[in-house]
């Protein structure tokens, strides 16, 4: 019996008449890597945004560990342990890498007094240095993060997400815009995050090689509707998916 950590049931979302998601149902199994693919404009990011509470949904239900979250706002959902990264990498660009990491600690049990708590205690600093080392940014840790290259910012954002100790990480195109020679390293780190830290990954990805290698099950969206679901092999051989990508729809 698989344990599902995110359960999406019949979710629809439209923007002023344009239907972006229509009756989407899907489940993300706990502790696994799940992929979400689909042609441009098929509603992948809309679905992500619905899950993390960025906008209200028109109908349907979204459950995280059995708790209905479709009416919660972004910070609350993030504190439950459901975290997302952005397609356009977002970091705190005027702060250095260490500061970016320090403020990304989990905010789940933050009380009022914790606002003025010690920010650089030994344990946290060790964690920061370990994770910056993990993504290969240790040497640059005192630089303004906005001055890093795009790929390095992406790695920093990933490290920040790990620092937050989420249960599920929603990654919106983690390899987009990254130098192809670095992609293998990133895949390896994503896998290790999944295996070593036990973080469930839910990944939007355009690079088929990456997602087929990484994910255990894949959902495919087209025209705002759920088109197919299966293992990488099944998806690769699914005629509907091939048609959708070739635009034969």
């Amino acid at each position: 019996m698989t344990n599902y950590i995110i359960e999406v049931e019949g979710v629809s979302k439209s923007y002023g008449g344009v239907v972006a998601n229509k009756g989407i149902s899907m489940k993300v199994p706990d502790g696994k890597i799940t992929g979400l693919i689909g042609p441009n404009g098929s509603g992948k990011t809309t679905l992500f945004n619905s899950i993390v509470g960025y906008h209200p949904i028109d109908e349907g239900s979204i459950k995280f560990k059995g708790e209905e979250i479709s009416t919660y706002r972004v910070p609350k959902i993030a504190r439950l342990g459901l975290l997302r990264t952005f397609q356009q990498t977002r970091i705190y660009s005027n702060m250095n890498c260490i500061e970016n990491m320090l403020i990304s600690i989990p905010h789940r049990k933050m009380g009022f007094a914790d606002m003025f708590g010690e920010r650089e205690d030994k344990q946290t600093m060790e964690e920061v240095e370990r994770l910056l080392d993990f993504v290969g940014l240790y040497e640059k840790r005192r630089l303004r993060s906005g001055d890093l290259s795009f790929g390095q910012q992406k790695l920093l954002e990933f490290a920040m997400a790990l620092m937050n100790k989420p249960e599920v990480l929603l990654l919106d195109e983690p390899t987009a815009g990254i130098n192809p020679t670095l992609i293998n390293g990133l895949i390896d780190r994503l896998r290790r995050a999944n295996e070593e830290f036990g973080i469930t990954l839910f990944v939007i990805e355009h690079n088929m090689r990456v997602i087929m290698n990484m994910a255990e099950s894949i959902y495919c969206l087209a025209h705002g509707e759920m088109l197919a679901h299966g293992s990488p092999d099944e998806i690769q051989n699914d005629q509907r998916v091939i048609d959708a990508y070739l635009g034969a729809h």
Binding site: G53, Y54, H55, P56, R73, V74
Partner: protein
């Protein structure tokens, strides 16, 4: 209550509110233009208005009828707007929004203080020597107010037609939608911005010239007009001309009523009170969408 005892008095308040509201709408339309096209929140908007007013008033003191001040104010303010664009706005347009807000705020201080130094802090009205008619027994209507109302309408219509038909108007609308695409299509966006900003200044100048004839001007009244413009544009949204007109007229009427019911000293408080109400209302709307007002 006078308003209930003498219902005809409502007509007076309503009419006066509509007359002054038309000038509010005109100035707000200018703000909507620079806001929508250039994403510049011009806090000197009201000071442009007052400047236009002083141009018409000063010409009046020189023996030129203030109605002639209207076209002159338009031309002078257009040139002034161009100068401000080249010296200040061009340099802040691609910076963050607070920069343009603060730069125009500094500009507002400069304009208000210069007007104060040149013309003194007294409240002024440009004398247009038109008759005042009585209708319905007690309601007085100054002909100049009717004329100003009509002129407001004509000016607004002229701008709308200009935006629809002329090449520059089309370039402005294209730039508003997507500046980068407009540049690719060969539109000189810098010139478009300069023109838009100058057009806004000219519109303000016209509104100010009319205000100087139908109401009063004073060097430090600018901020109220800026806030009025913000109230109107925030309430209506900047792509929405009928909304701007309705909100402008409505604001004029509301101010007139509150001035009458609560007392004249509450007029400014009414304007800022409405600003806060509109902002809170927008927030409640956005909160339903899990969003913020930005």
């Amino acid at each position: 209550m006078v308003l209930v005892a003498a219902p005809v008095f409502n007509v007076q308040l309503l009419l006066d509110g509509l007359f002054i509201g038309a000038t509010f709408a005109l100035a707000a339309y200018g703000l909507a233009l620079v806001w929508g096209v250039m994403n510049v929140k011009n806090l000197a908007q009201g000071d442009f208005v007052i400047m236009g007013g002083y141009i018409a008033w000063w010409l009046g003191t020189q023996g030129i009828h203030p109605l002639w001040g209207l076209p002159i104010a338009i031309v002078v303010m257009f040139a002034f707007g161009w100068g401000i664009y080249v010296t200040i706005i061009r340099r802040v347009i691609d910076k963050d929004l607070f920069t343009s807000l603060l730069a125009t705020f500094g500009l507002a201080i400069v304009i208000a203080q210069l007007l104060n130094l040149m013309f003194g802090p007294e409240v002024q009205t440009a004398e247009s020597d038109f008759a005042i008619r009585q209708i319905l027994g007690v309601v007085t209507v100054a002909e100049i107010k009717v004329l100003a109302f009509v002129l407001c309408g004509i000016l607004a219509l002229a701008v709308v037609i200009f935006m629809k038909k002329s090449r520059m108007g089309q370039a402005i609308r294209a730039t508003a939608q997507d500046p980068r695409a407009a540049r690719v299509m060969g539109i000189d966006t810098d010139k478009v911005y300069a023109f838009t900003f100058s057009l806004n200044a000219a519109i303000c100048g016209a509104a100010g010239a009319l205000i100087s004839m139908i109401w009063v001007i004073q060097p430090f009244y600018g901020i109220s007009y800026s806030i009025r413009s913000f109230v109107i544009v925030t309430a209506a949204g900047f792509g929405n001309l009928p909304g701007v007109i309705m909100a402008g007229l409505g604001l004029g009427v509301m101010e007139n009523y509150s001035g009458f019911v609560l007392g004249a000293e509450f007029q400014q408080a009414t304007v800022v009170g409405l600003l806060l109400l509109v902002l809170i209302w927008r927030q409640i709307q956005q909160r339903k969408l899990r969003q913020v007002v930005s």
